[in-house]
Symmetry: C3
Subunit: 135 residues, 3 copies
């Protein structure tokens, strides 16, 4: 079992692709066949396994999410850290904190157009940790 922690700096709300970083950890580990768990220990950032060819897809995903979960909705009771505080928790709930990806012949078995993204849901930059475990 190999473990590795990535620390990334987000530039506010949006996607940060991690596919190369995760693949690099897989290569460094020497793992031939197995699995890789990607885990985000945050409640206002999450994971997406999504289309990584056309950036318009991510813009549309973000726009859809912004319409579904409105910032500053007066019905939110929790707004300690601002109008994007509660929406960030809801967006995390609707997406993923862990994804388990197969590894074969030393390569992540993602689809041809599938990438792994950290999704920052807060509007301001944050430092985020991503915990990778391979076995």
């Amino acid at each position: 079992m190999h473990r590795r922690e990535l620390t990334v700096r987000t530039s506010g709300r949006g996607f940060l692709e991690l596919t190369k970083e995760v693949a690099s950890v897989v290569h460094d580990s020497g793992l031939a066949d197995g699995l890789c768990n990607v885990f985000v220990p945050h409640t206002s950032a999450s994971l997406l396994a999504g289309e990584n060819w056309d950036s318009s897809v991510r813009r549309d995903l973000e726009a859809f999410m912004s319409r579904l979960v409105q910032d500053g909705d007066p019905r939110y009771e929790h707004d300690t850290e601002g109008p994007d505080d509660m929406p960030a928790h809801i967006r995390t709930m609707l997406t993923h904190s862990s994804i388990v990806i197969p590894v074969a012949a030393g390569e992540l078995q993602l689809g041809t157009w599938q990438g792994i993204y950290l999704w920052e849901h807060r509007t301001t930059p944050h430092e985020r940790r991503v915990l990778l475990t391979l076995w």
Copy 2:
């Protein structure tokens, strides 16, 4: 590999925190480094890895979900068990049946404000099983 089944009694729709129970199973197992899979074998209850400091967050998550997935919507074909029957299946679909959490030095690697919750989606109390597997 260690397995353990928790059985909990919910008091109707809402969140039941399992963080301490899961941590306790990890401690009892003697596992130092590895992973813990949390699995809910139900289709009207699910898992959340969410903010566990301020209870207003859970009230807002529940309120958001209630607005998104309306009870008793006449467009539902399936209502055998009442107005909350189909919404419970939709809520489960939108959240999680399994979450895989890293364990290091005998501790679940959850974030500082991150807890594990069972989310009961039915309005009446139910007995729910939670399957933990550590390796």
Copy 3:
């Protein structure tokens, strides 16, 4: 560790139950106790662990999702492959690319009414891969 790849042909948007196929792979593997990761390497098809008794549940899940994520919404920037292109990516984001299911005594520990489904989000038939890993 056992790995197996299923290739299925969908008939357009909707659910394809995989419970028997996955159980069959578990049986063939000889695994008594462990876990099974189900992974979909696509960005417009995903997984559901949902009610498998009454087919009206799946019709309602599909109808809910169609109302939530509208085909042909003019606000989508990405529509290269048609009005169901971007909705398929959003639906995948809101559901699951990986699910980890416990195995005990050679049987998947799904709930009594819980089945594993591939959810095709495109309106036209597609060939889809499902990667199973048991350990």
